[in-house]
């Protein structure tokens, strides 16, 4: 395989666990350069765990993870980040005790290079004026949605090679969600591959070039976005039936 058509992110039979609690059982899929993969599934299916394994926050107990062709299993998260993978975790993803500007600078100085800091800052403030207003405030004083915006601003301004966003639109106002999707489309044009975990299934599928549906830590569907909708419904259905059976027996 030549460098150009080698997938940027590949998971091969990945299993993972939190201490004694096993969460993933042989998950495989890959993300081509510039592609968008929608990662779907009910609560607790393992979407966040997949994201964490890819970024090195949770070690894979077996299987292999390749970023840009390099096997990164066992590598610490910071090295994986330097290979060009960025992970925006679900929930709060900013340093509360640092100011908004310090949060941005911290991110830009590693990923953008030192000379680019002020240019990147200007760009971030231009795109998200709200951050400019609050730039001297501690990030902990921002609202949940504003914090979310701050953590997305970091990666949208200096795009990585592959970006994993967990719970993309959770907690954001509809107008802001539009902005963020516009930003994603923009970084994608610049060549960034995306893995999007999203509650708004239709919206994610509209952007996606393929979809993965997880069910209890295994892949239930992996294919074009058109079939994903049905797969998600099937999984949800199966769960409901399983629960009803458990209740009646």
């Amino acid at each position: 395989m030549t460098g150009a058509d080698r997938p940027i992110l590949e998971l091969d039979e990945v299993s993972a666990a939190y201490g004694p609690y096993r969460a993933l059982f042989g998950v495989s899929f890959s993300v081509a350069r510039g592609a968008v993969v929608a990662l779907l599934g009910p609560n607790g299916a393992g979407k966040s765990t997949v994201a964490r394994v890819a970024s090195g926050l949770v070690p894979a107990s077996s299987g292999s993870v390749r970023v840009d062709g390099r096997d990164v299993a066992g590598e610490p998260a910071w090295r994986i980040a330097r290979f060009g993978l960025a992970h925006v975790p679900e929930g709060r993803g900013v340093f509360d005790s640092l100011s908004v500007e310090e949060n941005l600078v911290l991110s830009f100085q590693r990923r953008g290079g030192r000379g680019q800091i002020s240019a990147s800052l200007a760009q971030a403030y231009e795109r998200f004026p709200l951050l400019k207003e609050r730039r001297q405030d501690r990030a902990g004083t921002l609202s949940g949605g504003q914090q979310r915006l701050l953590s997305l601003a970091k990666v949208l301004v200096v795009p990585p090679k592959v970006l994993i966003v967990d719970e993309l639109s959770l907690g954001l106002a509809p107008g802001v969600v539009d902005d963020v999707y516009a930003g994603l489309a923009d970084v994608r044009r610049k060549g960034t591959a995306l893995v999007v975990v999203e509650q708004q299934v239709d919206r994610a599928l509209a952007l996606a070039s393929s979809a993965v549906v997880l069910e209890r830590g295994t892949v239930a569907y992996y294919g074009p976005p058109s079939g994903a909708r049905a797969a998600v419904e099937e999984v949800v259905d199966r769960r409901a039936r399983g629960r009803a059976q458990a209740a009646s027996s």
């Binding site: 201490g19 096993r22 926050l57 998260a77 910071w78 330097r82 975790p89 993803g93 911290l106 030192r114």
Partner: protein, 656 residues
């Protein structure tokens, strides 16, 4: 004016010494998230080695400086990070405080063992000659090298550190690493290396401070040491552990004000003898009560903590019914064997030792209740025990009260003091609360226990044992044993009942999350006061019983270091359970007694066990003994499951 200068200027080196340490505390807190009171001990190590190399080995000053400050300072910092603090989860405030404090106690004790006794007085100076008078302030206030070194060091250090922390990339990353190493790693930064660098920088600064301040003689004398530490903590607290310049200014003010007041106050007055030594404590308590920033310490939690697996359940929780029955039988058999042995063949020395162990167990039960169940760290448990002991002693000697009655009164007194302490610190949590209790303990050590009226002065109180109803047993027989056993069984049962009952649930909820507990309707202030009062009573009972056995109680016997040792011992063996407290009490005295048989040279090594305890605690916050018990229980469960040929059900199920 001339006179004011004359009194104030000598305060400057003291103030600067306080400032250097206060800045160090703020620095370590900001860059590593640890309130490292062991910072003072780190400085001491470098000063010590520097003097040792120059005086005993005739090294040139520059070489000794390089060795003591440039190599040993950061090296020690790195070692602390590598072997202690790295293993402590950042959310575990208790572990961090306890580890820092045990360094403070352990390191100065270790040095003489390694290097032999060293006299640091007259330590070499590297910048200005301490004895040369460089110029005069006003007409005749001489300014010598000591003043110049101190001021120079403080100013340079402050400027360098503020620049480092506020303007450099590394400073930014250090502050970020404190909040969430994992989030920092997602930015492509090696958070471990950043934290290690922070420790190395702090170690370097501590070493520099130690070497430059040693000639001023403020850092080297044991009695100054506590004052130094408290003044530095007070200044750091007023700066809310955030601003280094504020901490430095306040520290200098404390030094200058104390010495100025000392100059003006008549030596015989109450103010001179009692209020002056207490001054830094009062500043500290004031800061804890009134500085709003201290109420929100340690509040920034790691946003990625949901990545960690949940902590393992305690041994008792994974026990099935069969193993449970077995364990109970073994416990009962042990208890029975213990009582029978004590009454029959146990040699008197060992009976005394084990009695003492049971009394300690009572004090440790107070830690179990307060720290294990309610999640509140108190560094004043020995002080509370002391309050009860002295109360009982004074009542026995002056009113001829039976010691058991006196002990009960003492326990009530300890309970009241504990309750008041809790009331005073209602708005503090975690580190703030620990500091408040530490301040209280130190205040008692310095100002209250040494008083003639409390402890009978330096000689202590001698007790005439009076046992009204129990004199029926032989005077030197097993009366004491039976009393302690009875009290221990009652108290242990009581604590177990409290833990299982509603109050225990409330306290456990408070330990888990104060906010959450308040949300389900737990009256937090009341629960906290209750927990402190109950624990004060337990500590008091234990203290009074210890005192009866000893017959002489000296003022220094219930000092803050003992409180510290108590907390370390209990958290090491298992802080959550009643058995944990008893294991700790008996274990402590047995180890102490065995050390008596060890060669003289090793006598000082108890503190090494102490340090090891802190180390073990850092690695296993649930306690080593608890950990082993869980492992064995799980093993037993598995063996049983095999024997029954039932499909092995794992202790914890993999999936819902």
């Amino acid at each position: 004016m001339e006179q004011l200068l004359g009194f104030a200027v000598p305060g400057v080196p003291y103030g600067c010494a306080y400032a250097v340490f206060a800045v160090g505390l703020v620095l370590t807190y900001q860059t590593t998230g640890v309130f490292n009171v062991g910072y003072g001990a780190q400085a001491y190590v470098s000063a010590f080695i520097f003097a040792w190399l120059v005086d005993d080995h005739a090294w040139p000053t520059w070489a000794a400086f390089v060795c003591a400050v440039v190599i040993v300072g950061p090296g020690l910092g790195l070692a602390l990070d590598r072997f202690l603090f790295r293993r402590i989860p950042s959310s575990n405030t208790t572990a961090k405080i306890v580890t820092g404090l045990s360094l403070l106690v352990g390191i100065p004790a270790l040095l003489p063992v390694v290097f032999g006794n060293q006299n640091l007085v007259g330590a070499p100076s590297i910048v200005f000659n301490p004895d040369t008078v460089y110029f005069h302030l006003g007409a005749d206030v001489p300014v010598n090298g000591i003043y110049l070194s101190a001021v120079l060091l403080t100013v340079v250090m402050l400027v360098v550190l503020v620049l480092l922390l506020r303007t450099t990339r590394l400073g930014l990353e250090m502050r970020a690493a404190v909040e969430s190493p994992r989030l920092l790693e997602l930015e492509g930064v090696n958070a471990r290396r950043v934290t290690a660098t922070a420790w190395a920088v702090c170690g370097l600064m501590a070493g520099l401070a130690g070497v430059l301040l040693a000639p001023t003689e403020v850092t080297v004398q044991a009695q100054d040491y506590v004052t130094l530490m408290v003044a530095a903590i007070a200044a750091a607290a007023i700066a809310a552990l955030r601003s280094m310049p504020v901490a430095a200014v306040v520290a200098v003010l404390i030094g200058v004000l104390s010495l100025t007041a000392q100059g003006y106050l008549p030596t015989s007055s109450f103010w001179y003898s009692a209020a002056l030594p207490a001054f830094p404590f009062l500043v500290l308590v004031g800061a804890l009560l009134f500085v709003p920033g201290l109420r929100h310490l340690d509040e920034a939690t790691d946003p990625l903590s949901s990545v960690d697996p949940p902590p393992p359940p305690p041994a008792a929780r994974v026990r099935g019914r069969e193993v449970d029955r077995l364990v109970r039988t073994v416990y009962l058999a042990l208890l029975f064997a213990f009582v029978v042995s004590m009454l029959t063949w146990m040699p008197p020395t060992w009976e005394t030792v084990l009695n003492q162990g049971m009394a300690y167990s009572l004090v440790f039960l107070s830690v179990t209740l307060l720290t294990g169940t309610a999640g509140q760290l108190s560094l004043a448990q020995a002080t509370l025990a002391g309050i009860a002991a002295f109360t009982a002693g004074q009542l026995a000697n002056h009113l001829g009260l039976d010691f058991l009655v006196g002990g009960a009164v003492g326990a009530v007194a300890a309970s009241v003091v504990a309750g008041m302490l809790a009331l005073a610190s209602l708005r503090l949590r975690g580190l703030g609360l620990a500091l408040m209790t530490l301040a209280a303990a130190l205040l008692f050590d310095v100002a209250i226990f040494p008083a003639q009226a409390v402890s009978g002065g330096t000689g202590g109180i001698t007790l005439e044992p009076r046992w009204l109803p129990l004199d029926l047993f032989a005077p030197n027989g097993h009366a004491y044993f039976l009393v302690v056993l009875l009290v221990l069984v009652i108290c242990a049962g009581g604590v177990a009942l409290v833990q299982r009952g509603t109050v225990g649930r409330f306290l456990a909820a408070m330990r888990g999350s104060e906010l959450g507990a308040a949300g389900i309707g737990v009256n937090l202030p009341w629960q906290r006061v209750l927990a402190f009062a109950l624990s004060g009573a337990l500590a008091g009972v234990g203290g009074a019983l210890l005192a009866i056995q000893q017959t002489v109680i000296a003022p220094g016997e219930f000092n803050y270091q003992l409180s510290l040792a108590f907390v370390v011992i209990v958290v090491t063996t298992g802080v959550g359970t009643v058995e944990g407290a008893i294991q700790a009490g008996i274990g402590l005295v047995v180890v102490q007694q065995l050390m008596q048989y060890a060669p003289q040279r090793l006598q000082g090594l108890t503190f090494v066990l102490f340090a090891l305890g802190a180390l073990a605690y850092a690695a296993h916050p649930e306690g080593v003994v608890e950990l082993e018990k869980r492992r064995w229980t799980e093993r037993a469960e598995r063996a049983l499951a095999r024997r029954h040929r039932a499909p092995a059900t794992p202790a914890v199920t993999g999936r819902p």
